[in-house]
Assembly symmetry: C2
Homo-oligomer: 203 residues x 2
Amino acid sequence: MSEMPLLQQLVDALRCLPGVGPKSAQRMAFHILERDREGGLRLARLLEQAVERIGHCSRCRTLTECEVCRLCANSQRDPGQLCVVENPTDVIVIDQATSFGGLYFVLGGRLSPLDGVGPAELGLDDLRERLRVDQVRELILATTTTVEGEATAHYIGELAMGLGIQVTRIAHGVPLGGELEYVDSGTLAHAFAGRRRLMENNP
Amino acid sequence: MSEMPLLQQLVDALRCLPGVGPKSAQRMAFHILERDREGGLRLARLLEQAVERIGHCSRCRTLTECEVCRLCANSQRDPGQLCVVENPTDVIVIDQATSFGGLYFVLGGRLSPLDGVGPAELGLDDLRERLRVDQVRELILATTTTVEGEATAHYIGELAMGLGIQVTRIAHGVPLGGELEYVDSGTLAHAFAGRRRLMENNP
């Protein structure tokens, strides 16, 4: 290992990044060494700091270097609306795309008993406590439509409804601008079964 | 800058890598923090070491952390054949794809007077010295076919021929397996003009 040239070690290390194969890793290593050594040093410093300092928000479990993340610490947001997502990325995506003004809860995965992921691993005790303390009015389920994602949504939905909270699920169907002939049959069947009455006088 | 969350700083820093846009950078940052903190630390360490320790080979100018790179230090290789390339990546690509057993010389760019890249920047003094000392018999030009690459090849070719060295240029033409209708017209014209007589009794 220590006999391997440093350059080759760097190429190997770059492959820990998702979507980076041997060719791109080589290109990245050469780019840094030949054109952007400063950027490489900055990246090294930030990787180290991020790995050491970034943990999970004590309230919503998203990634943050603070005790409580920016969203949870923002008093402008309505704690009465809580959106449950699987990953920290989902928080960012939803917050950028929608005008949702409530708070989030990050599961960090989906229920998957065979992989040892149960309610405890997803922090559902924290979630129950939070539903009670924050007097949540609406719980929005934004887990994925995989089998495990649906099972997770169902489990959490039951839990919240048991506490008398209104539970909603984000809509799944044909994407905007999607041509029907290119939509997969599962999505199309789902969209067809979930059709909604068209109001004559929309409010 | 220091007010920006550490996670966002890391995402920005990842964008110094070639081919990494805002979405991939975000995905990489989350991947490291959620699934591979160890890989992230290893990458940080190697980036730092590589930037600090990797310099250029004193003989062929490729990237290496030693005074002389592995290829130049390999006494099995024939110093009488010298292949001139633009970048360190080219050395690796040629060495993996061909059975070339000679040595390399890395220019680190192409002649481009408008950008301030002249013969001195490409180390052509070193090259001339090396052609003389190593008693090079054949100089193989493997620069690109851009206008600047061709000009560079021409310049170096003249230099070597002045020293009585045989100069060759790698072949450019239709790629193996390439269908003529999909080959760009420049390549096709070049391949046509550079056609070679077919030997009836090939050796």
